[in-house]
């Protein structure tokens, strides 16, 4: 299709260029070329996931690049979640209905 090859404006950024901008924005550096390649791969995966979320989301949220875009889902959970699943709720955490507030 001739329309597709026609120069209609600035070309889209290559993935490596987008990743370079991400590194600058969030001050990220990687210890080796292998680590860089690994993080680039994760970054690409996360952008694709974000695009999928964007398409599937039923609300008005916008998903895309964030400071966590070079982390796997597991790493993100390990770094920022509280991880431990509650085994039981302490007895002192009582169930209280709204209408019960203020009662002895």
């Amino acid at each position: 299709d001739s329309l597709l090859t026609k120069d209609t404006g600035p070309r889209p950024l290559e993935l490596t260029e987008v990743f370079k901008l991400f590194q600058i924005k969030y001050n990220r550096s990687y210890t080796s070329p292998a680590e860089y390649a690994h993080r680039l791969n994760i970054f690409a995966h996360n952008l694709a996931q974000a695009q999928k979320l964007q398409e599937e989301d039923l609300g008005t949220a916008e998903f895309g690049e964030t400071p966590f875009s070079d982390l796997t889902e597991e790493e993100f959970g390990q770094l920022y979640g509280h991880q431990k699943a509650p085994e039981r709720i302490p007895d002192v955490v009582k169930k209280a209905g709204f209408e019960k507030w203020g009662q002895p």
Partner: protein, 251 residues
Amino acid sequence: VPSTCDWRKARNIISSIKNQKTCRCCWAIAAADNIESLWHIKTQEFVEVSVQELLDCERCGNGCNGGFVWDAYIAVLNNSGLASEKDYPFKGYPNPHGCLANRYKKVAWIQDFTMLDSDEQAIAGYLAAHGPITVTINMKLLQSYRKGVIKATPTTCDPQHVDHSVLLVGFGKGKGEEGIQSGTVMSQTCKPRKPRRSVPYWILKNSWGAKWGEKGYFRLYRGNNSCGITKYPITARLDHSVKKLPISCPP
């Protein structure tokens, strides 16, 4: 229950956005944020309490390794209050000398803590009447969240697997794009914008710094237990002997 409530609009009720950095202490920050906001509502005094004290003094003594908001409240009750952030500042790692609670003057304390019913309407009513509360959600979708209202389903965000505690500061209903906008660039995707829809939402305060999300906040759809928001709605209880004029939640 009012149709909207946003405690951020009341002066000095909500403290500035905190940043947990690489310390897994969302549970302590959520509890501290809860106590700070309730303390101001009850006493009209603005305090910033020590998150580090909660990390150092919780029952396991390693608060950067995860925890639960009830651990924070138990630590506050055991230590008869909390020191100020200024006296006992956040370091982002556990203090090697352990709990230093006895060294500092207490600036805020609680009488009790409680878990609310898992009902979004009841939570909204409580929030509007008493102040911000803590909730624990599945944070999976927050990894790539930028702004707007997240409407999750049990498939996209398991409501049973909750792993991140935050402060619930309000609720509203309206165009999903009318919240506080982040200053970051638009996403790389080139999709047509979704049509504007009126959606009910919760407003939540996160602990990943003010550059994340909507100036440190995010919004979740209200009405379908998005990401398990109703699983652990927990709040401190403060009873202040001196009765002052109550502060109501701004619409």
